[in-house]
């Protein structure tokens, strides 16, 4: 590995070692350029994950909470979410949010890249599915993905590994979709169903969202990073970037960051790549103010931090008479339905949603959620109510497409700062009228499915607060510098040696979990950079 000293200029400086940072680092490594990645968090170890211990569920409420404000680790930064009905969730460390993600692995659909043309809303992307297709394939191979070929709702694709077991939850729900004549398919999952590339297969522990002790879940710390590092990429942890600096010509020339001891440092670079996710990237760009860029770096369009998209999520849970072994198997990966994915003129909203069937929780979470919802009392009725629910539930998580709106923003909080004094991001977000109608539709259809499945009780949540998993759109791609931040290969319109590869560059959100598309885009950007190395800044 090349080690950069403080006063040495690296060829490529990547900020953030998550899903996209890892993919771009690995792809660029074969150029033999001097590549350095600065990551604010640490490496995690599989033996530290909660499922090694009996108190694994309690840890999910604390140090392994998906919400950084609850987790409050030194490596996290606070997020002001007071002006948003959806909380941002993430993980900060090598692997980024893939450490805690559920690894549900759908791709955006071909139609998602053409929403303006097809439905007259938002904007078309400057790239399309066909262009990204080879990168989807390469990314699936690098990450290790399980699934079943033949889903008619997609162009042909062939996941490298066979699908994960559906279990009783999947079987029960699949029968319901059949009864209704609706689409369903086993989920593609970034979880390995068979030994793969030196990793052991998934053991069906269940709680993938607190880290996978088995290493069966494909987080980038165990997929891309080891290979990138072997190829010479340097990854420095506990380095929190405060701002990207520019030279007199208005080109990015490095980053100011704080090391693990809180010392301020400067790293010089020829090229800077942002990979801090849809909240972290606009935060740092907005904090990178200079005489040339008084409103933040790469922000001549004024769009850095605007058009924030989550996926508003509704949940419909069915409680069944029969035991479904709900706590067994990857919680977020079972089957899905694309029945309502596309626009239908008969509905009162445009675009659509993905129905993701998820399994149940462990006993502590079941009991606490039951207390919160009033369905499992403490006291004499506890055991009976608990017995009826625990391992007897299946849920539908409806992931709704969120259309871009400039009023949904990431800005710098005027008061809140992280442990290094860097302004924290402030989220201002409202659920649009279109999303509200879509959410209501998804709850009604979800209830129909649960009825068809024979659930004896159905409960629903119209909008899940802890669902800011997908952070998109805050530095969008496009051909026109007036209406976008980066071009079709992630290069800033304003700063020709600054690239963005994370979820910020999404033009629209699609109605599916985004990470396979985020990484395919990162690989596409890296490849285009490699093809244009001789005149990268022209």
């Amino acid at each position: 590995m090349n080690k950069a000293s403080d006063n040495e200029t690296v060829d490529v400086l990547i900020i953030g070692a998550g899903a996209s940072g890892a993919a771009v680092a690995w792809s660029l490594a074969d150029t033999r350029m001097h590549i350095l990645c600065l990551e604010q968090g640490d490496w995690t170890t599989t033996s530290d994950y909660p499922t090694n211990a009996k108190n694994w569920e309690a840890q999910q409420f604390g140090a392994y909470n998906i919400n950084p404000n609850v987790r409050g680790l030194e490596t996290d930064y606070p997020i002001n979410g007071d002006a948003s009905p959806i909380d941002v969730v993430n993980f900060n460390g090598v692997g980024g949010s893939t450490i805690l993600y559920a690894a549900h692995w759908p791709r955006l659909h071909p139609s998602d890249f053409r929403v303006k043309t097809l439905d007259g809303v938002a904007d078309d992307w400057p790239v399309d599915y066909a262009q990204l297709e080879p990168y989807f394939v390469e990314n699936d191979r690098m990450m290790g993905v399980s699934g079943l070929a033949g889903d008619p709702m997609y162009p042909p694709k062939l996941p490298p590994l066979p699908p994960l077991p559906m279990g009783l939850v999947g079987d029960t729900m699949a029968k319901a979709y059949d009864k209704l004549g609706w689409h369903w398919w086993p989920s593609d999952s970034a979880i390995i169903s068979e030994p793969y590339e030196g990793r052991d297969k998934c053991l069906n522990l269940g709680p993938c969202v607190s880290g996978c002790s088995q290493g069966g879940k494909s987080s980038t710390d165990i997929t891309y990073w080891p290979q990138a590092i072997r190829s010479g990429v340097e990854l420095r942890t506990r380095c929190r970037v405060r701002e990207i600096t520019v030279n007199e010509q208005g080109m990015a020339d490095g980053a100011i960051y704080y090391d693990g001891d809180g010392q301020e440092r400067f790293q010089k670079a020829e090229v800077v790549i942002m990979a801090c996710n849809g909240v972290g990237t606009p935060r740092i760009l907005l904090n990178s103010k200079s005489a040339q860029f008084p409103d933040g770096l790469a922000n001549n369009s004024g769009l850095v931090g605007k058009n924030l998209m989550f996926h508003p999520v509704s949940v419909v849970q069915g409680v069944f008479e029969e035991r479904l072994d709900s706590h067994k198997g990857p919680q977020g990966c079972c089957i899905l339905s694309k029945e309502f994915y596309e626009t239908d003129g008969d509905r009162d909203f445009v675009r659509g949603y993905n129905m993701q069937i998820v399994r149940g929780a462990g006993p502590l979470t079941t009991a606490m959620q039951g207390h919160g919802s009033g369905t499992i009392p403490w006291g004499p009725g506890h055991h009976e109510a608990f017995r009826k629910r625990f391992d007897h539930v299946a849920s539908i998580v409806n992931v709704c497409e969120d259309l871009p709106e400039e009023c949904n923003t990431v800005t710098l909080d005027p008061e809140l700062v992280d442990s290094n004094g860097i302004p924290a991001p402030k989220i201002t977000y409202r659920v649009s009228e279109n999303s509200r109608k879509m959410l209501a539709h998804s709850v009604a259809r979800g209830r129909e499915v649960m009825e068809a499945a024979g659930a004896r009780e159905i409960v629903s949540n119209d909008l899940l607060r802890a669902s800011g998993w997908h952070l998109l759109g805050t530095a969008r791609m496009g051909h026109d510098p007036a209406s976008s931040v980066v071009n079709s290969w992630g290069r800033s319109h304003d700063v020709k040696n600054l690239f963005i590869v994370d979820g910020s560059i999404f033009v629209t959100s699609g109605g599916v979990n985004p990470t396979s598309t985020i990484q395919a885009l990162a690989l596409h950007i890296a490849d285009t950079m490699k093809q244009n190395l001789a005149n990268l800044f022209d």
């Binding site: 090694n52 009996k54 699949a174 004499p380």
Partner: protein, 153 residues
């Protein structure tokens, strides 16, 4: 150490009386099941659990117990339930935290886990077996599907 005070040892020391209150509180919040299959929370060693896994909670536990007087352990169940209900109503956050720790202790217990059909011990490295499911039904899904929506470049 268990949560029970020694009832024959009168007069009880403050610590013993506090333990009696704890034991009664645990049995009120999570009593044994009617058929006797599920133990009550008071049958588990809650204090040892707090000491080992949630030491930070110890002062809050002491404060929670201060809400219940020495009559509490000998009161009939409806009275005890009403007292806890009252506490939950006035000290919602503290009660939720107490409940969380009681449930956490209870559902980590190997005997309880076996009774609810969960393997004892941590999930890793034992893992679980999950049925593959019937994929043959997908032929019908393919047959009835309109296919994906085409998008022109």
């Amino acid at each position: 150490m268990t949560n029970d005070g020694n009832a024959t040892d009168h007069p009880l020391s403050p610590a013993q009386r506090q333990r009696q209150r704890l034991s009664a509180l645990l049995d009120t919040i999570l009593p044994a099941s009617e058929d006797g299959a599920m133990p009550s929370a008071g049958e588990l060693d809650f204090l040892a659990f707090v000491r080992e896994q949630a030491e930070d909670f110890m002062p809050a536990l002491g404060r929670a117990l201060d809400h219940f007087d020495d009559e509490f352990p000998d009161s009939p169940l409806p009275v005890r339930l009403a007292r806890v209900q009252d506490y939950a109503g006035t000290e919602g956050k503290a009660f939720n935290s107490l409940l969380f720790h009681i449930y956490d202790c209870y559902y980590q217990d190997d005997r309880v886990r076996e009774l609810i059909g969960v393997m004892p011990g941590p999930p890793f490295p034992q893992g679980n077996t999950v049925e593959p499911g019937d994929l043959s039904r997908l032929d019908a899904v393919v047959a009835r599907s309109p296919g994906y929506r085409r998008s022109l470049r």
